[in-house]
Symmetry: C2
């Protein structure tokens, strides 16, 4: 059986034909008209799905359903996007609109970070795990919780916003207006801020030279550290402590089998994952008595969102089929 997974992004709308093993056999994309009326954006979405199906010789009756990942505040059960910062959705009933436009029976939606978490857990780095927490380190921090092959999102799917849990009471100001949020310490934007502060305090640091080429970014401190810069190593160590602190919170509450770390920074691989694993093992509650928690880097990259969106409409948690 095939499913369609749709990833709504600020730049492009992407749709993929996905099978129950999580393999994308065909995909298409169109630019997102982010500021257009929501009806037009959804009409673009419907056109994209129809065109993908047509080019594969399929109709909407041939597939198991259509799953959508959207940025912003999504009400999964109601099938609406309450609000999105970057795209013109305001209480937009996307599921109902898409059902009507395509004559489809089975359409589901969730937040894009949740879809990526579901995709990675079922078909990527977390394959086989009973439960997982995915932390995506980007401009902000996205978090997704999966238990028994299904997303855990709380009442009205308003939860799973771990980026805004407080890890430093009264601390750094976050983009959300609150202080001390995980995102204000462990996102790529936070790492860049921490890098810049260290550079200001240390004109002798190698980071200045590295930043000359492409400016300060999430890689600056990692590159300098690998070349032996001590200030950079301190920036990275401190940053990994922040990333770990939020994950330890998730552990003490949920105790997943596996943490999946996604986003650009996860491409650092073992440089990030090994010390993070150590930090988590040393800081989770009663580690001596409780099951160990694995920490891995995401493996699906940009595909996680499409594959996870498709998994929203798969009838049984794929894990039951796969293992």
């Amino acid at each position: 059986m095939y499913y369609v997974g749709v990833d709504i992004g600020g730049m492009s709308l992407k749709a993929g034909l996905v099978d129950e093993r999580g393999v994308i056999s065909a995909s298409k994309a169109v630019p997102t008209r982010a500021k257009a009326p929501s009806e037009e954006i959804v009409s673009d979405l419907a056109g994209l799905v129809a065109s993908l199906l047509e080019s594969e010789g399929l109709t909407v009756k041939d597939i198991g359903g259509i799953g959508i990942g959207s940025p912003g505040s999504v009400n999964d059960a109601a099938g609406t996007v309450r609000y999105s910062c970057n795209i013109n959705f305001r209480m937009t009933p996307i599921v109902a609109m898409l059902k009507e436009a395509l004559g489809a029976d089975r359409v589901a939606i969730s937040n894009d970070a949740n879809c990526a978490a579901l995709g990675e857990t079922l078909f990527g780095a977390g394959r086989g795990a009973k439960n997982s927490v995915t932390v995506t380190l980007g401009t902000g921090i996205g978090t997704g919780i999966v238990a028994d092959g299904r997303l855990v999102t709380g009442n009205g799917s308003a939860g799973a916003e771990g980026g805004h849990m407080c890890i430093a009471y009264g601390g750094e100001l976050c983009g959300c207006g609150k202080r001390g949020c995980y995102e204000a310490y462990a996102s790529v934007s936070a790492l860049i801020r921490q890098t810049e502060r260290a550079m200001e305090a240390h004109p002798e640091s190698l980071m200045h030279e590295i930043a000359k080429e492409e400016g300060v970014n999430g890689k600056t401190a990692f590159i300098a550290m690998k070349r032996g810069d001590k200030v950079a190593k301190e920036v990275v160590d401190t940053y990994i402590g922040y990333v770990g602190a939020g994950m330890v919170n998730f552990a003490n509450i949920f105790w997943p089998e596996v943490f999946i770390v996604g986003g650009a920074i996860s491409r650092e691989g073992d440089t990030l994952i090994l010390p993070l694993r150590e930090y988590i093992a040393a800081n989770i509650h009663s580690a001596a008595y409780n099951p160990p928690i694995e920490v891995v880097a995401a493996t699906l990259g940009g595909d996680a969102g499409i594959v996870g969106a498709a998994a929203l409409v798969m009838e049984r948690p794929p894990r039951a089929k796969l293992h």
Copy 2:
């Protein structure tokens, strides 16, 4: 149908006969021989349950099952207590031992804070809620998460230890050896510490007079605040901010319908609950777009543990029967 709920405490073992509405119709207790070999403690438990059933004219075949709440690290699925600080349990397979001693088929166990959360959610302050988070403010902080009438405890039931989530990175030292734990800021012990510090800095505060009678305790600042003491009001306001910060973290991750606040401090009633409600509404993520979250004080008191333990062995989530 009747069920037996057992609450293992450091001072006494309590057992109650509970019906499916959560009403305790009979109960018994014996002292806990906390330092005795675990076999003897479990034998006391079995004797207590047998004696309760006998005095009600019942046998173990007449009841729906036996549920147990135990302090410490409990593996619900395995039916063992891995470790308890105060009672001599070390990888003790209580469920198997009790099944054998009583000839019972249906025995289940969970952490005592989890049982209290389940009891309050199904039959107490959270009655009717689809999902809830219970925060018990005591010497430490116990937390319990209920979704669809069942406890959420993570892999190996090692989670639901929200008292040890970090809310203040690098902050106050916690009894667990880590820094910045919720428990180190929002437990009664933490409130007492905060009260003592404020008293030291303010010899003029009314709190000194109040503490003369029974020493500094969790009520000192609340009493002084109600009599107009400004320093005490600051202590209470700050403390409520800490309590709220941990609850906001739970909200941003789980978004329950209701928070239930238990423990001695919850007896302050509206003095605690009203400002806590305000703090939470003002600090949860995207409050304008998401469903509101209710905050209530626990209502079952010491019975919550027995009733919740009994609910562990009720066949369907009682909510389905009740609403």
